[in-house]
């Protein structure tokens, strides 16, 4: 059997007195959407930060397609095919939605046309298509500052997808969005991921979303994976109902 897409081995890190990752060993297989749930401060975001090289673990390893990427800075991990979307969208606030994507494409293509105007690069069509995929084609020429939080979240994800990653890590893709919009955003998102054939890991607080859209769920608690299973198994598990769902409700 080939190596898992992403694998972590015995990740350890603490911030002050808090253990944010306590011997985390996890395998992520290609082609499935894994949801990470758990109470605040359980180390979910820290896990994404370690996997993308933003934070270095005290000990332990991160392997992508079997290769050790632990010491690499985020940009080198990104170039291997791990993209990231953020809880607070990280966009170029003085650029339009389309330009944000074009810049992402330019970063991916590595300056093949150094002096061509960004608005005339050959990737324009592809990026417009991506914007359509996330239902934002109508705001392509608006500065991202002017857009709604939901649109910014989708564009943040589209910017990550523009890199053509194999793995996309998302930190609460539906947070900060009106609850009536959450399902709509996830519909769009899951469709876009399937079309681009990207494996995803997403941190999520909304159990309804997790139940509807995850193929698999990992429950975080006190810096480690407490349980892992299918959404039905997990959401009906008494510990989860007590520790996680109870808290959310």
């Amino acid at each position: 059997m080939s190596a898992p897409l992403l694998e972590t081995r015995n990740l350890m890190i603490r911030f002050g007195g808090v253990i944010a990752a306590n011997d985390v060993s996890l395998k992520i297989e290609a082609g499935r959407n894994l949801a990470i749930i758990g109470p605040n401060g359980a180390g979910k975001t820290t896990f994404l930060n370690i996997c993308t090289g933003w934070i270095k673990p005290k000990s332990g390893q991160v392997l992508f397609e079997g290769e050790d990427i632990t010491p690499l800075p985020p940009r080198k991990i990104v170039r291997r095919g791990v993209a990231r979307a953020f809880q607070i969208p990280q966009l170029f606030t003085e650029h339009t939605a389309l330009e944000n994507l074009l810049i992402s494409a330019a970063a991916r293509e590595g300056m093949r046309h150094p002096l061509r105007d960004l608005s005339r690069v050959p990737e324009r069509e592809e990026m417009m298509h991506l914007l359509e995929m996330v239902n934002c084609a109508d705001v392509a020429h608006r500065t991202v500052d002017e857009l709604s939080e939901g649109q910014r979240k989708l564009i943040d994800i589209a910017v990550a997808l523009a890199l053509r990653p194999r793995l996309l890590l998302m930190d609460e893709p539906t947070s900060g969005v009106a609850s009536s919009q959450k399902h709509k955003i996830m519909e769009i998102l899951i469709r876009a991921l399937a079309e681009a054939r990207v494996t995803s890991v997403f941190v999520e607080h909304d159990m309804g979303i997790v139940g509807d859209y995850a193929d698999e769920v990992a429950v975080w608690n006190a810096g480690n994976v407490q349980l892992r299973g299918t959404p039905t198994e997990i959401l009906e598990h008494p510990d989860v109902i007590r520790d996680v769902i109870g808290e959310v409700a």
Binding site: V78, Q90, L91, F92, M111, S119, L163
Partner: protein, 338 residues
């Protein structure tokens, strides 16, 4: 102040942008033609305009950095490095060609820009601005202290270079230098505009808004910043080399912090981040300075500082911003009338 926000221009439809751009191009060409006629119709202003344009090139360098949200209080360093490079070349090889002198200046600026740049691109904001200032002060001290090499406070005289192998009289040489400067203003201005709109330039500009995302696009923010820093150093260098040749002497004053401050001042005056604004600002600045020095020479910096405060607090778009605001208001009125 949003140091020049493109927000307005960007939200317009591409077609509109296109027409504006061509209109801008025609305006720029008209401006250059007008300036090219200065030696014919107003020869007394020729040297002044030449110096203003040389300074404008240096201001353009500072302007480029403003587009990444960074301000350098030490870019006179590259102005001086290039001017001294030209002076040393002419001292070692009297009658060297003008183009070679300018090239040597640009090269000197590029090399020093790379060395200092590799260090300063690790910093942003306050540190970036002040470390640049520190480097320019270091260079200024070197120029002052090592007088057996640099001529100390008296500086070095630059003999007149040749042009394409020809020895020229003063009048002819000044004409050639003027038109060459104008050509460089047009060429480098065009190049800078293209560069800022290009993928590399756009990546450079994102240093201003989101370095985290830049890193997560697989791009090193430091390298992105360095690319623009090099361009800015070379632009300052070309300006400095022209200034040295035009004035016939270079002194440590070229690297003095007031020069750097002047460049920042003009960049903000012209419209922070605007390419044509750099040259318009430099022309306005030099004219006002020459005519004001008669009665305001003692308080010149005070006026600059006061004016800078007024611009920052009340007209953050600078001259170009004011112009755009007025024309846009005019256009809106026109639409209403129609």
């Amino acid at each position: 102040m949003s140091i020049h926000s493109d927000a307005g221009a960007m939200s317009r439809s591409p077609a509109e942008k296109e027409t504006r751009m061509t209109a801008g191009t025609w305006l720029a060409i008209a401006g250059l033609v007008l300036l090219a006629a200065v030696p014919i119709f107003a020869p007394s202003l020729q040297l002044l305009v030449n110096l203003a344009l040389a300074k404008g090139l240096a201001v353009l360098g500072v302007t480029v950095l403003l587009r990444a949200g960074q301000v350098s209080f030490g870019h006179a360093l590259y102005f001086a490095v290039a001017a001294y490079a030209g002076a040393f070349l002419l001292a070692a090889w009297p009658g060297a060609d003008l183009l070679v002198v300018l090239l040597a200046g640009a090269l000197g600026a590029a090399v020093s820009g790379l060395l200092v740049g590799l260090f300063v691109v690790r910093y942003r904001g306050i540190f970036f601005g002040m470390l640049n200032l520190a480097f320019s002060m270091i260079f200024w001290s070197i120029l002052e202290k090592f007088y057996h090499v640099t001529g100390g406070a008296d500086g070095i005289r630059l003999p007149r270079p040749s042009v394409l192998g020809m020895e020229m009289g003063r009048h002819d040489f000044e004409l050639v230098l003027f038109w060459l400067t104008l050509a460089l203003v047009g060429g480098l201005g065009w190049f800078t505009l293209r560069w800022l709109a290009s993928p590399v330039g756009q990546l450079f500009r994102t240093v201003k808004t989101n370095e985290t995302r830049l890193e997560y696009l697989g791009v090193s923010p430091r390298r992105a910043l360095l690319s623009g820093y090099l361009l800015s150093a070379v632009l300052c260098g070309v300006g400095g080399a022209i200034m040295g040749v035009a004035q016939g002497v270079v002194t440590p004053e070229y690297a003095w912090w007031i020069r750097s401050g002047e460049m920042v001042f003009i960049a903000v005056l012209g419209g922070a981040g605007s390419v044509p604004g750099a040259f318009i600002g430099a022309l306005i600045y030099e004219f006002v300075r020459v005519f004001a020095s008669a009665f305001a020479g003692d308080v010149w910096q005070m006026l600059l500082g006061g004016f800078l405060l007024v611009i920052i607090l009340f007209a953050p778009g600078g001259v170009v911003g004011l112009f755009e605001r007025v024309t846009r208001r005019g256009a809106a009125k026109g639409e209403e009338a129609a």
